[in-house]
Structure formats: C-alpha cells, structure tokens
C-alpha cells in the first residue's frame, strides 16, 4: 500500500488510528499494540502477502537470537558466535534476495559463460528491516536490549509508517516510545502536527517530485540525443526529484508516526545546503548515515587507527552504502565517489584552507549531482554519455528539445524556490495550532488530494531498496 493512495489516506490510516486509540481508551493497551502490529503487517502484505512469512520469520529469528545473546555470559565465546550467526544470517538473506542475480551475472562475465539467473522478486523493505535488526543484534551483544518483549520488538520492526522505506529507526529510540503509557492516549497536538507533516510530504512527492520526474525520465530515456544544456537539466531534475521524493516520503512517515505519538528521527536537513560532502551526509538520509557510521565505520576502527586506515574505512563504508542501494556497479561507483569525496574533504580540512560558503555549497551540490548520474543511470554507458554531454564532449548546445510541458514550469519554479526555504522539519518544529497553520493544512490537504486524483500509480524511488 502506498502512502500516496486514497485507500491509505481515507481508509487504512484513519481506521488504524481510531481503533488503536479506542482500544487504549478502554485500557486494552496490549490489544491496542497487537492491533497496531496487525495493521502494520497488513500494510506490508498489501504489496504481496507471499512475503509476510519472510518478515515474520526474520523478526522472530532476530528477536530470539538477540535475546539469547543478551542472556549468555559476557565472557562466553558463544556470545560472539551467536552475534556472528545472526548478522551473517541477515546478510545472507539480503544477499540472496538482492544480490544473487548480480553475483551470477558477474560470474557469467568473468567466466565467459551464460549462467541462468534466478527468478527472484525483491521483498519490499528488506534492506531496511534487515539493517534495523542487525543494529539490534549488535546492541544485544553490547547488552542494551534485555528488557524488550517480543510484541514491542515486533512493533519496532514492523511499525508501518517507517517499515517500507525508513527512516531507519534505532530500537532505543522507538521501543521506549511504544512502551510509554502517555503515548497510548490520543494527543490532538500530535495528531494535528502529524497531519500537517504528512500532507507536506504528500505535496512534496506528488506535486514537486513527480513533476521533476517527468523531465528526468524524458532525459534519461533519450540520453544519446541530449545536448549540453539538456543533460544538465536532466541531471539536476533528477537531483531535485530524488530529494523531494525521498524526503517527502520521510515526512509522510514522520507525520503518520507522530499521529500515534511516536517521534521518528529526522532523515533530511536541507542536504543541498551542504558545504562539504561530510556536511552532505549529515543532512541526507541521516538515519542511514548514522547506521553506516555506528555499525560499519566505527567497528572498522573509524578514525582511531591512523589516517590511511581512516581513508580505507571511509571508502569501505561508502562502498557498502552504495551496494546497499542497489545490486549494480553503477551503485558501487556512486558509493565509491562519495567515499573518495570524503577522503578528499578530510585532506582539504588538514590543509586548513577556508572557502566561501556559497562556493562550497556550489561545489558540493555539483559533486553530488554528478554522482547522482551514476545512481540514476541504468548502465555505465548511459551514465558516461550523460556526463560527457554535461562536460561539453558533444558541444555546448543550449537548445532544449527533449521536454515540453509548459504547465510544469510554475511547479518547477516553486520546487527550486523551496530548496532555498526552511525545510519541513523546521516547519514542523514551528507548528502551532493557530489559524495560519489551519489554513496551510487545509490548503495542503486539498492540493495533495487534487494531485493524488491526477496521477496514475506513482511509486516512491526508494521502494526498490
């Protein structure tokens, strides 16, 4: 089920909310949580019920392995063995569903043979719920998860606002909120703020992201024919599309969760205002960056083992980040670019040379934009053709013939303007139940539903992960 669908907005979400808070009001607190878990699993299986057993099995396995780890003596070797078993199992599960065919295709190329690929459908959200649970296992090893019961754990993994595409939540951030008694009563401030945030996200996705998507898709569909200006427009359109699409989704997730009195972590903080690659990764998909930092970069040694090792750790972390996004060499290159970007940034910092803020933003945005070409392209060839055109290898034509939609211009102007204004998280912080926000909310509801009634099926980009 998509957040941007009538069945979610008009049926699933209100019914889940009403029943949840009604049960809590009747002091059937455990039943309310079971209801919420059931609703979340229903939400997941709307996509394909065949994979419901998979997420259930994953939750049960990880919970009990984590609980077992927590109960084993600290000094015992078994503890580490269990952790290894748990993490490897999760990685193998992810590897099988997401990377098997990539592996087979590469073996075919290396061996010069044609190995048959497997008919595997990637289960929805597997990258997200696998990473969340690996974090849980790691923390179990550190002994900070002993007090969770299965219901709370299951809700943490399956809570529908964040289940499909994040934000990647940490158990320590969410489970205490789920358990807290006062969160089980309806809070009209949170309901209102959640609604406000949800519809901001819906409008970002449907109005701005989908408009830029049309331009980006047109460009990538005819990449061979793009001129200089057209290839820049295509790449920038995608950069804007991706931001509004993914941050819009995160806003909707945060908004929906807030209605249940659960505060999910911020996931975006105006990433295109970043003044360096390091700054960018503190603003873009923040929960993924935190995961990569805490569970890959720091365990590898972080910056504590010398400069060369730090650079290696940075590169490794971002190669993992790249491959997490997709089973393809273009994603690996994208990750590697960011890894190298961070290395170069560290070296630059050591030089102690300052840079004008706007120059820094300009350089950072262009680096990120160039890297997005690999992220979006379906092949190296396509990426290289577009990048070649962007750098004038086929001339510097300013003709624009690849995309005509006069009606999308106002929306695009608004989208670009919004990039420079306060982001939705700041707006949420400033939310207050007054007439101004009432008017904004009503306007966004009407606009959001208008645009929702104007599209075909429009999925979120991060659904492929």
């Amino acid at each position: 089920m998509l957040f941007n669908s009538f069945e979610y907005i008009a049926l699933f979400l209100p019914v889940t909310l009403i029943v949840y808070f009604s049960l809590n009001r009747a002091e059937w607190f455990k039943t309310a949580k079971i209801w919420l878990l059931g609703a979340s699993l229903f939400f997941y299986s709307w996509w394909n019920p065949v994979y419901l057993p998979l997420i259930l099995a994953s939750m049960i396995f990880n919970y009990y392995v984590g609980a077992y780890i927590g109960n084993v003596n600290n000094q015992s070797k078994k503890r580490k063995q269990l952790l290894t078993l748990g993490v490897v199992s999760n990685v193998l599960l992810l590897g099988y569903f997401k990377y098997s065919n990539f592996f087979l295709e590469n073996v075919s190329v290396l061996m010069g043979t044609e190995m048959p690929t497997l008919n595997i459908i990637l289960p929805l959200a597997i990258s997200f719920f696998t990473f969340q649970q690996i974090a849980y296992l790691s923390d179990s090893y550190k002994g900070v998860t002993q007090e969770y019961d299965f219901l709370h754990y299951a809700l943490f993994v399956a809570f529908f606002p964040q289940l499909i595409a994040g934000p990647i939540v940490h158990h320590s951030a969410v489970i205490p909120q789920i358990k807290r008694q006062e969160n089980q009563l309806v809070n009209y401030t949170n309901l209102s703020a959640g609604l406000y945030m949800f519809f901001m996200g819906l409008c970002k996705k449907l109005i701005i992201a989908d408009t830029f998507a049309a331009m980006a898709n047109a460009g990538y569909a005819q990449h061979m024919a793009l001129g200089f200006a057209e290839s820049w427009m295509t790449s920038i359109a995608y950069a804007i599309q991706l931001y509004f699409d993914f941050s819009g989704y995160s806003d909707m997730a945060i908004g929906a969760a807030l209605m249940f009195n659960i505060k999910l972590p911020q996931n975006f903080n105006s990433p295109y205002h970043a003044q360096s690659i390091q700054d960018f990764w503190r603003r873009w998909h923040m929960t993924l960056s935190a995961f990569l930092r805490d569970y890959i970069y720091i365990p590898l040694g972080g910056n504590r083992k010398g400069e060369l090792r730090m650079f290696t750790n940075l590169l490794t972390t971002f190669l993992v980040g790249g491959i997490w996004h997709g089973a393809g060499w273009t994603f690996v290159v994208w990750g590697a670019m960011h890894g190298f970007g961070l290395i170069i940034h560290r070296m630059w910092q050591k030089l102690g040379v300052g840079m004008n803020k706007y120059v820094a933003i300009f350089i950072t945005f262009n680096f990120v934009n160039i890297a997005w070409v690999f992220f979006r392209a379906t092949s190296f060839d396509q990426a290289l053709v577009i990048l070649g055109n962007m750098f004038g290898f086929n001339g510097f034509s300013t003709d624009i013939n690849f995309y005509y939609d006069f009606y999308s211009i106002p929306v695009m102007v608004v989208g670009v303007v919004f990039l420079f204004l306060n982001n939705t998280n700041i707006r949420l912080e400033r939310f207050a139940p007054n007439t101004k926000h009432l008017a904004y909310s009503v306007a966004m509801v009407v606009l959001g539903l208008l645009f929702l009634n104007s599209v075909g099926s429009s999925e979120f980009l991060y659904f492929d992960f």
Binding site: T189, S192, P433, L438, S441, V442, L450, N453, S457
Partner: protein, 312 residues
C-alpha cells in the same frame, strides 16, 4: 486554538473545501459526466483523456454510433450527418489497444448501432496503451484533478480566442471531430506527399502480433454486442500507395481475413477511389484528409452503412 478544536477544524475545513471544489466541478460538468442529456460537450485539452471521459456518460447518452481510429479518422466530421448521431472517438496516435479501450467502454454503455473503424498499418505497430490516461482511475478526474483544471484553463483560452493560432476555438467539437485545418493548412500537401516517397516505409508494415490478436478479440466483442460494423481502409494518396503497393495490399488481405462475416468493408484504396486519392486537394499531408476529402469519405461511409444490413 485548543488542539482538539484545531484538529477537528482542520478535518472539517478540509472536507468543506473539497466539497466546495467538487460541487463547482459538478456544476461546470466539463465532460458531461453528471448531466449529459442534450448537452454539447467539446474537448478542450488532451484528446485521449477527454474522449475517454466523454465516453463514460456524455457519448452514451447523446449518441447511437461511434467511430474509432487514429488521427487519420479523427478529422472526419460526423456532425455533418447529425441524425446519424455518430461520435468520432478517434484519437491522435491511437493504436488498436487504445481504440479497443474506448470501444469497449461505449459498447458497455449500449452505443452499438454502428461502429466505424478506421484501418491502417499504424494502429497495429504496437500494442498496449501508450499512456495511463485511459485507465479506470482516470474516471475520477471529473471530480477534481489537474487535468480538469487544465481543461478549464484551455476552455477559457479557446472560447475567448486568446491564442487562436495555437489554441483554436472548436478544435474538437461536440461530435469529436478534430479539425486539424484550424491548426494546419493543406497548401503544401503535394510537397509533403512527394517528400514521403523518399522515406523508408517498411517500418510502417511491421505489424505487432499481439496487436493483431487484440483486433481479433475486438471483432469478436463487436459481434457479441450485435453492432453493425463498418471497417474502412484509410485512403492513401495514390503516389504513396503505388510506391508501397505490395505492402499495402498484403496488409489489406491480412486484415480482410480477420473481419467478421457480415461486416461492411470499404477500401478507399480500391481502383474506384483512384481519382479521389490522386487529388492532392483531398489531403493535408501523407494521409490526413482535408475538409473536402473527409466530407467525401463521410458521405461514402454513410452510404455504405445504409446499403448493407449486418448479418450474423
């Protein structure tokens, strides 16, 4: 404002705003969906979605017959024979899949006295809808959508003739007649036709297998609905037809094998129409008819539909 009051005010305000907007759209009834009786509804914006939405209620209420095809038949003026009540549901760029979507909708609503179908290799080039503008979700656009707002905007531009050369008034009239001549002329038809002789034409005759299957299924559906069917091979300028005669004739023979018994077939490329096809004044380009050309074609189609009875 107290939070509970704020929340319910937001919900109430939103519902009121939506109700107001939907009510306005109901009153405007841009696609004749709500009050279609004895109305005259034109298409102001996108032809594909416009005719699809008109096929939901306006066409079934006001017409007895319809025409299907791509742009080659979209500029045939069926309003010239108003007593026949034929709606021209042809759409620029339509393939057999899209023709079928419209045809099925109209047959389902009982519009089945006579179905005119324009045949050309173009409609069999590919298979499947080219856009998502004619799926079931689009039916709800009449209640409120960007498509509807665009239609209002263009209605104002067209009706007030603000940009007549680009957005002509009555470009698609209430009978679905798409008057290309308002936006293109036929002075250069001879040059256009002769220019086409040099182009590679083979690709026009690569027929998609699934498209042909879809045609078979549509013919069966027409039979099942007891519709009188008039199929016509779209006229091709003589020079172009002679240039690719073998391919055109192979196409015509193939399609003839798929036409159900009892259907009326008019081949506008038969020798009796040679003088028509040789006259540049009947065309605006390589296949689209001029005003005089489509008048003659329509006359022939009406005559043929009256001469033959449909036999099961």
């Amino acid at each position: 404002m107290e939070p509970k009051r704020y929340f319910f005010s937001t919900i109430t305000g939103s519902l009121l705003a939506i109700a107001t907007f939907v009510s306005f759209n109901y009153l405007m009834d841009q696609y004749g969906a709500f009050r279609p009786e004895a109305k005259s509804v034109k298409v102001f914006a996108d032809e594909r979605s416009g005719k699809f939405l008109l096929a939901q209620n306006y066409v079934p209420t006001n017409f007895k017959s319809f025409m299907l095809g791509p742009s080659l038949s979209a500029n045939i003026d069926t309003k010239a024979y108003p007593e026949s009540k034929i709606y021209n549901a042809s759409v620029m760029g339509a393939n057999i899949s899209e023709m079928r979507i419209l045809g099925e909708q109209l047959l389902k609503e009982g519009v089945n006295e006579t179905v005119y179908i324009s045949l050309s290799p173009y409609i069999f080039k590919d298979h499947g809808p080219k856009t998502d503008l004619m799926n079931d979700n689009q039916k709800y656009a009449i209640y409120g959508s960007t498509k509807l707002l665009k239609s209002y905007f263009l209605r104002a531009v067209r009706e007030l003739e603000l940009l007549p050369s680009k957005y002509a008034k009555d470009i698609i009239n209430d009978y679905g007649y798409h008057n290309y001549n308002l936006e293109m002329g036929c002075e250069n038809s001879q040059i256009t036709i002769q220019g086409k002789l040099g182009e590679e034409a083979k690709q026009e005759f690569d027929l998609n297998v699934k498209a042909l299957e879809e045609f078979d299924e549509f013919m069966s559906l027409l039979e099942a609905n007891d519709a009188k069917v008039v199929l016509f091979f779209s006229p091709v300028p003589t020079e172009l037809y002679e240039h690719e005669k073998a391919a055109y004739q192979a196409f015509e023979q193939l399609i003839q094998t798929k036409i159900p018994h009892g259907a009326v077939v008019v081949n506008f490329n038969d020798p009796q129409y040679r003088s028509f096809n040789a006259d540049y004044d009947n065309f605006i380009d390589h296949g689209h008819l001029s005003i005089s050309g489509q008048e003659q074609v329509m006359f022939e189609l009406i005559n043929h539909s009256q001469l033959y009875a449909y036999e099961k």
